[in-house]
């Protein structure tokens, strides 16, 4: 039997055993998770359906038969496909580093008589499934809502399934290829070359984002054509995301010949890039891997030198044992660029967008839209935090792994440990998000009350999201796993992500409700508004406290009862 198949069958068996092990889990836990997952899927379906309905309404009628709203919705599919494509390339670049180089399984497989191409394919399948399962889960309600709103026919639903696989395979190959090239050539470059190349790449990326935002200069009278034009500018017929979006649209419209053409484009390209990535693995994987193994042996980090030499001074007011724990966590975080690079990119894009709000649209001059934009900014920022805490804070306790006994035997309580993780998360995320909230409020020239509520809700969101990530991380630890991507894809990680998203949605909805009612004049008296505002603040605070306290308490109880 082919070795790739052997590995796939083995993985299928492992998956089978894992699914079977659900029988031994608490029925309540499984029930809650299943319910939460289904609830989130239907909630997402509802939100997308409502949102798309609003887009069609917002777009309105154009001239003659042309319906701006429908055109807007169709363009949004292009934008969605492009965004997902870019995100998949990015996430596959990160995931491939774990699956191709860092996993313990890699050493085991490579000591066997397996060619580097077969090894790559065997690991690649795992890489693809890790990086794309969430797309299948959260993308499906969006596609269903899209189909409803465009009155797509039944073939559209079948087409989604067929287009999905080649669509996720192409960015996975690109991501893996980028990782292999980086591992092969990056460590051999001198620091100056790396710094210059890094700076050029980052500046070019942000310059591109800025250009796209700035060029979308809307005025009230030409909003729709401007939006459509701006959306069109992000498309290119050379991009697989374009082929996928076009193919799906054609399938939905009943134009099957053209749909088949785009599917053919996608499939043939996917097969070709899979072949190329396998060849690349054969050519450069081993030299990169071997060099990386050698690199581990020569990394010298003197305590008083390097980028974190200042850490001791900054942390000096913090008392022990917190200082030691902060020290360890920050250094581990810093020495894993896959972690902080995501922070930098997400918040960098948000910062550019917010700083350019005034150049982008005149809608901010209208109080109604200004309120909406401010609330949506809060939503965007806190959703990014939710993703990042789910990805990076949730696995913190699990990553102590088999070393948990060091902490377990130290004169340190688990209470201290989880609060330290909580404050670490809050301080890191707040440094970015509160700054963005302040910038957003300033750029939109919000009134002091609105400004205050925005910043306050971001702060509360940071606390609640950190509390949930740390709490659920302690409640569902996976001490046997070293790969954070696998830790977060388990039951606990899923529950944490779902709860975090629900928390953010509730927080933003509450804010929108009170502030927009005020703008729309739905409060009869100023006193009514003040009461509603007070109720919103109290609810936001109570929810924040609950989301911090409850998971932390449950997690702490679990750690205390655990046998190390």
């Amino acid at each position: 039997m082919n070795q790739v198949w052997t590995v796939i069958l083995m993985k299928a068996r492992i998956a089978g055993h894992q699914i079977a092990s659900v029988r031994h889990q608490s029925k309540l836990k499984v029930g809650v998770l299943t319910f939460a997952a289904l609830a989130l899927w239907f909630a997402a379906l509802f939100l997308f359906d409502t949102g798309f309905g609003w887009l069609i309404y917002f777009g309105g009628q154009g001239g003659g038969e042309f319906v701006f709203g429908k055109a807007l919705l169709r363009q949004s599919l292009n934008i969605f496909a492009l965004s997902i494509f870019v995100l998949l390339v990015f996430s596959n670049t990160l995931v491939a580093f774990s699956t191709l180089y860092r996993s313990k399984e890699v050493v085991y497989l490579l000591q066997g008589p397996i060619s580097y191409t077969d090894f790559f394919y065997a690991r690649f399948i795992e890489s693809v499934s890790f990086s794309s399962w969430s797309l299948a889960y959260l993308g499906s309600p969006m596609m269903v809502a899209y189909a409803w709103n465009t009155q797509a026919n039944a073939v559209f639903y079948v087409a989604i399934v067929f287009f999905f696989l080649p669509f996720v395979v192409i960015p996975a190959c690109l991501g893996s290829a980028i990782t292999m090239l980086l591992v092969r050539f990056f460590p051999r470059m001198n620091t100056l070359t790396i710094a210059v190349m890094g700076a050029v790449a980052v500046l070019s990326f942000f310059a591109y984002i800025r250009t796209v935002i700035r060029e979308a200069r809307f005025s009230e009278s030409t909003t729709m054509p401007a939006i459509l034009q701006a959306m069109d500018r992000t498309q290119s017929p050379f991009l697989p995301s374009h082929w996928a979006a076009q193919g799906l649209r054609m399938a939905g419209d009943g134009n099957y010949t053209e749909a088949l053409f785009w599917f053919g484009m996608l499939l043939s390209t996917a097969l070709f890039v899979v072949f190329l990535a396998g060849r690349l693995a054969d050519l450069i994987f081993y030299s990169g891997w071997s060099y990386l193994m050698g690199q581990d042996k020569q990394r010298i980090k003197p305590m008083d030198k390097g980028a974190l030499a200042w850490l001791d001074r900054v942390l000096s007011p913090v008392r022990e044992p917190y200082r030691a724990l902060f020290h360890k966590d920050i250094k581990l975080f810093w020495r894993d660029p896959t972690q902080w690079s995501q922070f930098a990119i997400f918040f960098g894009i948000m910062a550019i967008y917010i700083a350019n709000i005034r150049n982008t649209t005149r809608l901010y001059e209208n109080e109604f839209w200004r309120g909406w934009i401010a609330c949506l900014n809060v939503g965007a920022v806190t959703l990014i935090v939710a993703t990042l805490t789910s990805r990076f804070v949730f696995p913190l306790i699990s990553l102590e792994g088999r070393r948990i006994w060091i902490l377990g035997l130290a004169p340190l309580t688990f209470r201290q440990l989880i609060w330290q993780k909580f404050w670490l998360s809050v301080s890191l995320t707040s440094a970015f998000t509160v700054g963005l909230a302040l910038l957003s409020g300033y750029m939109l020239a919000l009134q002091p009350l609105h400004y205050g509520l925005t910043v306050y809700s971001v702060l509360v969101a940071n606390m609640g999201l950190s509390g949930m990530a740390v709490g659920f991380g302690a409640l569902y630890p996976t001490f046997t796993e070293d790969n954070p991507a696998r830790i977060v894809s388990g039951m606990g990680g899923t529950l944490n992500l779902l709860s975090s998203v629900a928390f953010v949605i509730f927080l933003v909805a509450l804010q929108v409700l009170v502030l927009q009612w005020k703008v729309l004049g739905l409060f009869h008296t100023e006193q009514q508004f003040q009461w509603a505002l007070a109720a919103a603040v109290v609810t936001i605070t109570a929810l924040g406290v609950l989301c911090t306290w409850l998971p932390m308490r449950l997690g702490l109880r679990n750690l205390n009862q655990m046998e190390l």
């Binding site: 590995v7 497989l109 000591q111 081993y286 050698g294 042996k297």
Partner: protein, 247 residues
Amino acid sequence: MIQTTQLTKHFGEKIAVSPLDLNIESGTFFCFLGPNGAGKTTTIKMMTGLLRPSSGTVCVGGIDVQKDPVGAKQLMGYVPDHPFLYDKLTGREFMRFVAGLYQVPEDYYQTHCEELLEMFEIAHVGDQLVEDYSHGMRQKLSFASCFLHDPKVVIVDEPWVGLDPKNIRFVKDFLKEKTRTEGLTVFMSTHTLSIAEEVADKIGIINHGKLLQLGSVEEIKALHERPGSLEDIFLTLTRTDEEVPAQ
């Protein structure tokens, strides 16, 4: 069966293994000794193809590990000190997986799998998930899977970790028997000098990446005029400058 020619490994400016020339004949039980950080594991990694040498070559059964890694690895079995096993597979499923990875013919696998599981006394837990195994059982499964494809060379890195005295005796006798009757070549890295003294046909002592001694236990003892234990010679050879008593 194992031949290294001017095998060298540098990590930056640090020399992990200085030019190493070894020629280990078929059917030899070779013990590789050295203190922590001496270069034993680096040498093993180069032999198993996990690390590319800075210069020099490793040939296993006449096949260059760098030029034809798949062919060379087909002849090899490797048992690390802390074996990697798939926790969510049962012992038998793991053996099946290894058979697939090494392309073992189905009929050969059918007859040998149970035999090996019986031999290493883990047949009774063969249908249990590996995550429920003790460290000793995991080590035994690692040994059993290593012999599934009938390797000609077995490389073993400190195999005694987690094994009880009965199993240490069993593994020792099993490997020794295989070298005598089937011509298996064993390359074992260990710190347990008494065992090395007992089983080794040939010994190599390495320190700071340099091979200090090579020969049979008797030859090395005769060279140092020490009829006593191998331990004394080892400690003398590997002590640091600070440990040398002042004259």
